[in-house]
C-alpha cells in the first residue's frame, strides 16, 4: 500500500479506495522490489523450487547493488555541490563588501557547516559497505541452497544439478557484522605474529 492509497483510505473513513495510477504524485517512481522485477516467475509456477529461490536471492543481491550505486551517485552529487558552494563562498570572501568582521565571521560559519555536511556525506558513503557484506551473506545462503539441491538430486537419482557460476564464498561471513573495524585489532595481531615468526 503506497501513500496515496493510505491517504484515500483515511479520507474514505476506513473504506479501501485504491486511487488510479494517474492520481499519484509525479514524484519519481521507486524501483520495483526484487520480486516485482521478475513478474513471470510469480505468474507461472516454477518447476524447480530451489532454482526459483536461488534466482530470487540473486535478484535481491543485484537489485541491492544497483540501488546502492544510485545512493552513491546521489552522495557524490551532494559532495560535488558542497565543494562548488565552498568555492563560491571562498570567492565571495574576497569581495570588498564581505570584509566587515561580522560578515567574515558569518561566512566562516557557513564554510564550517559546509565542511560538516561534506564529512557526513563521506561517512554515509563509508557506511555503504554494508551492501557488500549483506551480498556475501546472501551468496553464502545461495551456496548452501545449491548444496542441498544437489544432494537431493543425488538422493533421488533424478533432476538437474545446479550449474550456475559459484563465486568464492567467505566461510566466516555469518559472523561478520557491520561495525567498522570490529576485527581490526584481531587482524593486526595475527599480522604482527606472522611477521615476528617469519623474522625468527
Amino acid at each position: 500500500m503506497d501513500q496515496s492509497e493510505i491517504d484515500a483510505l483515511l479520507a474514505g473513513g476506513g473504506k479501501s479506495a485504491k486511487k488510479p495510477k494517474a492520481d499519484k504524485a509525479p514524484a519519481p517512481a521507486p524501483a520495483p522490489p526484487p520480486a516485482a522485477a521478475k513478474p513471470a516467475a510469480h505468474e507461472e509456477p516454477h518447476k524447480d523450487g530451489a532454482g526459483h529461490v536461488i534466482s530470487e536471492l540473486d535478484t535481491v543481491t543485484s537489485v541491492t547493488e544497483r540501488e546502492s550505486n544510485k545512493i552513491m551517485d546521489q552522495l557524490d552529487q551532494i559532495s560535488r555541490l558542497v565543494s562548488r558552494q565552498q568555492e563560491l563562498i571562498t570567492g565571495m570572501m574576497q569581495h570588498d563588501a564581505a570584509q566587515a568582521p561580522g560578515v567574515q565571521s558569518a561566512i566562516h560559519e557557513v564554510m564550517s557547516a559546509g565542511k560538516e555536511i561534506q564529512d557526513k556525506v563521506f561517512e554515509a558513503m563509508d557506511l555503504m559497505q554494508f551492501q557488500d557484506i549483506t551480498r556475501q551473506k546472501l551468496e553464502r545462503i545461495v551456496h548452501h541452497l545449491r548444496q542441498i539441491h544437489d544432494y537431493i538430486v543425488d538422493l533421488l537419482g533424478s533432476g538437474l544439478k545446479s550449474d550456475a557460476e559459484r563465486p568464492s564464498i567467505s566461510h566466516t561471513i555469518a559472523q561478520t557484522g557491520t561495525t567498522p573495524d570490529e576485527n581490526k585489532a584481531h587482524a593486526d595481531a595475527v599480522i604482527e605474529a606472522f611477521k615476528t615468526q617469519k623474522k625468527g
Binding site: 554494508f130 557460476e165 561478520t176 570490529e182 599480522i191
Partner: protein, 118 residues
C-alpha cells in the same frame, strides 16, 4: 601513483576510490575479479594493489599468488570480509603485505596504505 583496485562489488570499489581520493590518490584502475585484475596489471604503470578475496572467476588469493609469480615487489593490500586467523595467515603466506577486514574505517585504509608505501 597508480593503484589497482580489484573487487567484484562496484559499491565497494567506489568506497575505496572515495577513500583514496580523500587521502590524495586519484590515479586508480579497477578490476572486478582476479582475471580482470591481471589484465589491468598487464597494461602497466600499477604501483600498488588493493584486492578483495571472495570473487568469481579468479579469487583474490589466486590473483595474489599469480601476481607474486611475476612481481615480488609490488605492495598488495587485501581488503576482505574473511577475518579468521587461518585466512589472514594464508593470505600473508600467499604474498599479501597487509590485511584489512571489512567493514573498515577510512582511517584504517589510510594507515595500511601509508604503512605499505613506507
Amino acid at each position: 601513483m597508480k593503484i589497482l583496485i580489484v573487487d567484484d562489488s562496484s559499491t565497494m570499489r567506489r568506497i575505496i576510490i572515495n577513500t583514496l581520493s580523500r587521502i590524495g590518490y586519484t590515479d586508480v584502475v579497477e578490476g572486478e575479479n582476479g582475471k580482470s585484475g591481471l589484465e589491468k596489471l598487464g597494461q602497466g604503470g600499477v604501483e600498488m594493489i588493493i584486492t578483495d578475496w571472495n570473487m568469481p572467476e579468479m579469487d583474490g588469493l589466486e590473483f595474489v599468488k599469480t601476481v607474486r609469480g611475476q612481481n615480488a615487489a609490488i605492495p598488495i593490500l587485501m581488503v576482505t570480509t574473511n577475518a579468521a586467523k587461518e585466512d589472514i595467515v594464508e593470505a600473508l603466506q600467499a604474498g599479501v603485505n597487509n590485511y584489512v577486514v571489512k567493514p573498515f574505517t577510512p582511517e584504517t585504509l589510510k594507515e595500511k596504505i601509508e604503512s605499505l608505501l613506507g
